[in-house]
Symmetry: C3
Subunit: 187 residues, 3 copies
Amino acid sequence: MPVDLKQFSNPAYKPGSKVKRAFWFLFNAFFLRNPYNPFGGIKRGVLRMFGAKIGKGVVIKPAVNIKYPWFLTIGDNSWIGENVWIDNLGKVEIGPNVCISQGALILCGNHDYKKRTFDLIVGDIVLEDGVWIGAQSIVTGNVRCESHAILIAGSVASNDLNSYSIYRGNPAELIRERKMEDSAEKE
Amino acid sequence: MPVDLKQFSNPAYKPGSKVKRAFWFLFNAFFLRNPYNPFGGIKRGVLRMFGAKIGKGVVIKPAVNIKYPWFLTIGDNSWIGENVWIDNLGKVEIGPNVCISQGALILCGNHDYKKRTFDLIVGDIVLEDGVWIGAQSIVTGNVRCESHAILIAGSVASNDLNSYSIYRGNPAELIRERKMEDSAEKE
Amino acid sequence: MPVDLKQFSNPAYKPGSKVKRAFWFLFNAFFLRNPYNPFGGIKRGVLRMFGAKIGKGVVIKPAVNIKYPWFLTIGDNSWIGENVWIDNLGKVEIGPNVCISQGALILCGNHDYKKRTFDLIVGDIVLEDGVWIGAQSIVTGNVRCESHAILIAGSVASNDLNSYSIYRGNPAELIRERKMEDSAEKE
């Protein structure tokens, strides 16, 4: 049974009103994706205006692309690197002290490739406190990166990452523990 | 014998007149790559104006980059995702019901690294009906992705992909069959 | 001991005056990253104006992103491909006849993930003569790619690459020698 994308439709998926999405499309292009805008305060402001929950001290670099701010939570002191793409068709919950490095992709959308209608599958993503998502890496839907997990640059996480653990490759595999220097006080 | 890029030249490669390429460079930047333009109809129109064969119901998302539309064919109901880059120095033939997900690169160009002149090698690419090219993945020149093949996000296909088969990694390796739910009717 | 990005600071890192960096930020956005600007001469001019050492016959394609030109050296006849990102928090030294293909990332920055302060680690990068960095690949800090090494598209080099050798994967592994056609005259 071949795929027929003409039959694709998503009546069950409700990402918000068309008007809100159209306005955000423009605001995102003008304030976030725009490589001329280095002003994090403006970015945090427009994200909050559209419903994002943004903590204190959050850093947002230029040319960041965010799909739906109303599905986004970012904890205190987290960093969103240059050219990061948060393609949050679903909810993305970023804890405090998280670093998403340049060019990384947080990708909630997927498709049911077994169906000829290629149904959209949306999975939420959680990046717990202290997580580091490396440059140009990808986190896919339904993945939870536990506290202080690391995904190395250029890797693809399609399964949960354990806390204080380092992953690499496609699919990302555990390569070693993340030992902090004062590990006795590790949470 | 070291490489000498000063000696690089491609007299045999004829991608079209300079004037046409210069105009397309501007149209591509303004209508296709432009992250403010969500209007698929305009994009399909300018692509056709420059010689692309675009089927019915083709979806083209924002910030798509296409090298030479006169070397491009897209079948009915196919989707070109956001930030997709079709770097078609050669012919790229996309069948019907193909999904190229966000950030993927269709890369026809290569170089003969054994020659000090680093000669350009251009390979055509074919994505047959129902193929799904995952987010941020790469398909290189001379690759044919047969009907309903899948390349998983972040992977690199440098060899042909078999029909109804799923590939992952760099280089992409077969991981399993793509079984459709009503497989009895599979073509 | 959990990470606390509020404590992050880099008193020892001196990338140049704020004014210079602010001006370069704008010049980079306007002349280099700008997808409408195909004029290599203008790009080479503004890079030199900000302290880059750029050899003769250097090709710089559209939408290139360079962090700090005063930390950049490019030898004669080298090519910087479209969408290449030279994120040179440290010194990047590119020899003559080097090809950096489209979308590649030259990434000097790293973090000490063992410290709760997540200290910045900056590593210089050297690409010797005749090196080819493939499309969408990544070279990380403190890496030296020796003469005529090749990093295949979509790969991640986190260790040195040997001369006349070809690497692939994440992390990039040696797959074979780069034999030039007239290998008897190989340097």
